[in-house]
């Protein structure tokens, strides 16, 4: 069944292809036209900031740069507890009292700050990483890239979470000289040296893992009797090079190895003194 000359299909196929492409393009037009702004490096004039402005900044960060609302939203869409849905100050108090709480915060503001930088300190039941039995949080540390909020910005978020339900705002307004948010990170975080041994222990979070000064923790070897077990040299080595020698039953690489960079000489001296006197 030989056929005669046929019309060139060029126009028909081209027309069909163009039409189909146009349909796909139109679909993109009927969807909402939203731009995803890159987070702005907001320059907050700290000197002129009022508490209302600070709270508003916190809300802006919560919904914008902090990307919190990506996960923290109302059920059934939420991938994390609906923070905006409940009074976080009351919630924080309940969690601090919960025996599953692993952190060392004493009040709601400290709890919120802690959960920003170390979310696994308390994992709400049902929201932990799969297979971790709710001991590991899937949330990234907010002070690290890619989100990287500065301490001032985190304070603003805390202020917002306190203020939104009418609670009193307990974080202080930042008072340092006006600085761009990024610089504020470095300035705000340089901690003052501790004045007493107890302060130094608290500052470096020793009690998070070690049983000492009346608190209990099973993560690291107990230190309440360390003065009886180790010499001064061994104590120094254990702080500065934790992995040089590992106490039986504990694992390597858990204790941070950078205390040498962080502690002042005075702080180290105070801690050693304290430990040498701890004889159980």
């Amino acid at each position: 069944m030989a056929k005669g000359p046929r019309r060139s299909p060029l126009l028909a196929t081209l027309g069909f292809s163009l039409g189909l492409t146009l349909v796909f393009t139109l679909v993109t037009y009927i969807l909402p036209q939203v731009e995803g702004e890159a987070p702005k490096e907001t320059e907050v004039k700290l000197g002129e900031l009022t508490m209302d402005g600070f709270v508003a900044l916190g809300q802006e960060l919560f919904e914008g740069k902090g990307t919190c609302t990506l996960c923290h939203k109302p059920p059934p869409m939420g991938r994390a507890p609906d923070i905006q849905g409940f009074n976080m100050v009351d919630t924080a108090k309940e969690r601090l009292a919960d025996e599953r709480y692993k952190g060392e915060a004493g009040d709601p503001a400290a709890y919120i700050r802690e959960s920003l930088v170390d979310p696994s300190k308390y994992v709400v039941v049902g929201w932990g990483q799969k297979g971790s039995n709710d001991t590991v949080s899937p949330m990234p540390a907010i002070d690290k890239p890619p989100i990287q909020l500065s301490p001032v910005e985190m304070d603003a978020v805390i202020a917002y979470l306190q203020a939104k339900d009418g609670n009193e705002v307990s974080v202080a307004l930042p008072t340092e000289a006006p600085a761009p948010a990024e610089k504020a990170a470095a300035v705000g975080a340089a901690p003052a040296p501790a004045k007493t041994p107890e302060e130094a222990v608290a500052k470096y979070g020793c009690q998070a893992c070690h049983s000492m000064l009346g608190t209990e923790s099973p993560v690291g070897p107990p230190l309440s009797d360390v003065g009886a077990r180790l010499s001064q040299e061994q104590i120094i080595q254990s702080i500065l090079e934790p992995d040089a020698e590992i106490a039986e039953g504990f694992s390597e690489g858990v204790m941070p190895g950078d205390f040498a960079e962080k502690m002042t000489v005075r702080e180290l001296e105070m801690i050693i003194e304290l430990l040498r006197e701890s004889r159980g």
Partner: protein, 628 residues
């Protein structure tokens, strides 16, 4: 179709051979990698896990802060807006177009030789010259496309160095000598490609044919290596590994390449390239079919179009599973990145994706139904078609139901992440999972009916076999719906996610059972005559819809993949401070995607035309005498 069965089997063998070749290459670099597991752990994941439970609270400043005080030679450059050259047109748009064109043609050039080799093997096995001719004809398209790939690759590199010099300088530093390896591979690819194409007729029979097949295999091995090397650049940008938090290189090149997303992307691109390549050569066959003037030509191009469609759909079916793996790895690497892709602004693009995949499935199904008219045996199955069509349409509509309903301007403004509280129950994942799996199941049903339409089973247990097949369809569909509805709406999140695996497995069981049962049931079956060329012209437009939708889809998903980095050149390591560091509106992205698709279409038509030209001979002038 015994030929297609052979094809399938050979496919698997060739793929296995390629994988072995690739694995060998990888193993040489991998031997030292295990001990360095720690160092290749990607930057993001280290942070996600919260590295050490002991980290004191006060250590809140970014690690980069002290590094910035002394001159840093090793970290990634931290750029300011003024560091980016401004050429008057959008740098991002320029790179977007060039990169996408390079990727389109690269995909085509890499994919075509893969199935050409398989078709050539079938030709050798069956001794049927039609296969060899078809394979040779496919290669012609790949060859012309190769020059265009190189052209766009060069332009892309130039544009990147011109418009993003610091970024490229950083990438060069990270990947270093690997770029030279890439250049060598590129040279080898050219060499083998030309040898394979131009040596076709010189090495057509006997031992020489096996030499030719070996060249084809080497060509594919080089091509695949080329692809995975290039993939490592893209995955490094998404999930850097082998560098520290500020981007300083701490690992060797293998550690840099082997990021958490590398293999998922490799697999996904490998499969998608084949589907894409099959779709494009299908359009070529459709074009030639519509232009054909003789019954022989119609028969030839009908058969070629059918084979191309078979390749495209076959490669397309596992693609969602590869995509699922990629997305799961993205979530595992950084939940935030996963949510940026699936839950933020970019989530809207998955509605467009649903439209595109729906188009592909409808076109593929339609082509199969139309193709059933090639044989009289198909009347037995005509009754199913309307139900398949109905299922496809209903599932398609469920799939495109947006899961975020925006009701007011202020909510649009809040779309940095927050979704609306009132959600249509059809908009969330379980409903969509049901829809997608059912679409795949009924597409396979179309395929199975098509395959059966020209056969009559002669085995005794035909009725039992049919009952079993039917029961598997019924129970699988019931199971998919049950899993989606029950676990999706009435249990907790973990079970919801887990049940989607259950649905996927159900779909796979149908496909595997269908292939196995039919293979045995139609062994030695009575073959009804098939009339190639006896297919309506309008069926050819389905073969055009396929590559158009594939091209658009590829550009769209590539855009999503690239955009999840948001305002980072290299995620968590090197910030993008350029004017284009935001995610554009969907309409803008749609325009860009349409531009690249149309541009690709123009180039492809040019390639078809060139391929035609090479077989057109001008009659010699009578007076002067021939020059030949």
């Amino acid at each position: 179709m015994a030929d297609l069965k052979t094809m399938l089997r050979l496919w698997v063998r060739v793929l296995a051979a390629l994988v072995l070749l690739g694995a060998g290459a990888a193993a040489t670099c991998a031997d030292q990698a295990d001990s360095l597991e720690q160092r290749i752990a990607p930057v993001g994941r280290v942070q996600l896990d919260g590295a050490s439970p002991l980290q004191p609270l006060v250590e809140a400043q970014p690690k980069g802060a002290d590094a910035a005080e002394e001159p840093v030679f090793t970290g990634a450059p931290q750029l300011k807006r003024r560091d980016y050259p401004n050429i008057g047109v959008s740098s991002r748009a320029t790179v977007w177009v060039l990169a996408q064109m390079h990727l389109f043609f690269g995909a085509l050039v890499l994919a075509v030789p893969m199935f050409v080799l398989v078709i050539e093997l079938i030709g050798v096995r069956t001794g049927d010259d039609r296969y060899d001719d078809m394979a040779h004809e496919f290669m012609k398209i790949s060859l012309t496309a190769y020059a265009i790939t190189a052209l766009f690759g060069g332009s892309l590199a130039l544009a990147l160095f011109l418009l993003y010099p610091q970024f490229m300088e950083y990438l060069m530093r990270v990947f270093g000598a690997q770029m030279l390896v890439y250049a060598v591979l590129f040279f080898l690819e050219s060499l083998f490609l030309y040898l394979y194409y131009y040596g076709w007729d010189a090495m057509r029979y006997g031992d020489r044919k096996w030499l030719h097949l070996t060249i084809g295999l080497t060509l594919n091995a080089v091509g695949l290596t080329l692809m995975v090397v290039a993939n490592s650049w893209a995955t490094f940008m998404m999930a850097p590994s082998g560098v520290d938090e500020v981007g300083a290189v701490v690992g060797n090149i293998w550690e840099v390449m082997k990021g958490p997303l590398w293999n998922p992307i490799n697999l996904h691109r490998f499969i998608a390239n084949i589907a894409f390549g099959g779709a494009v050569v299908g359009a070529y066959a459709a074009y030639k079919f519509l232009a054909a003037r003789t019954a022989e030509a119609r028969a030839h191009y009908d058969w070629m179009g059918y084979t191309s469609n078979f390749i495209a759909i076959l490669a397309f079916l596992p693609l969602p599973f590869a995509g699922y793996w990629l997305m799961a790895e993205i979530y595992a690497y950084s939940q935030q990145m996963g949510i940026t892709a699936m839950g933020g602004i970019l989530a809207w693009l998955f509605i467009v994706q649903a439209v595109l995949i729906g188009t592909i499935l409808l076109a593929g199904n339609y082509y199969l139904w139309a193709g059933m008219s090639r044989t009289d045996g198909s009347v037995r199955y005509q009754g199913f078609i309307k139900w398949i069509a109905l299922t496809l349409v209903v599932c398609f509509l469920i799939w495109v139901t947006p899961h975020t309903l925006i009701l007011s301007v202020s909510e649009i403004a809040a779309l940095g992440g927050s979704h609306h509280h009132v959600l249509g129950p059809l908009g969330i994942m379980p409903a969509k999972n049901i829809a997608v799996n059912l679409m795949l199941v009924v597409t396979f049903l179309s395929f199975q009916l098509y395959r059966r339409s020209d056969k009559v089973a002669t085995v005794k247990w035909e009725r039992a076999g049919n009952a079993l097949m039917g029961a598997i369809y019924v129970v699988a569909i019931a199971n998919i719906i049950f899993a989606g509805v029950y676990y999706g709406y009435f249990t907790n999140t973990v079970y919801k996610v887990g049940s989607s695996v259950m649905q996927v497995v159900s779909t796979l069981v149908v496909i595997v059972a269908g292939v196995v049962i039919d293979a045995y049931m139609f062994k030695g079956a009575k073959q009804l005559p098939s009339k190639w060329g006896q297919v309506p012209d309008r069926a050819q437009y389905a073969l055009f819809a396929l590559p158009i939708a594939f091209t658009w889809l590829m550009a769209l998903m590539g855009y999503v993949r690239s955009s999840v980095r948001t305002h980072w050149h290299v995620y968590t390591v090197m910030k993008d401070a350029s004017v284009d560091n935001y995610i554009p509106t969907i309409g803008y992205a749609g325009n860009m995607i349409t531009i690249v698709t149309l541009l690709f279409l123009v180039f492809i038509l040019f390639i078809f035309w060139i391929a035609n030209l090479s077989t057109t001979k001008q009659p010699a002038p009578v007076v002067e005498g021939g020059v030949e």
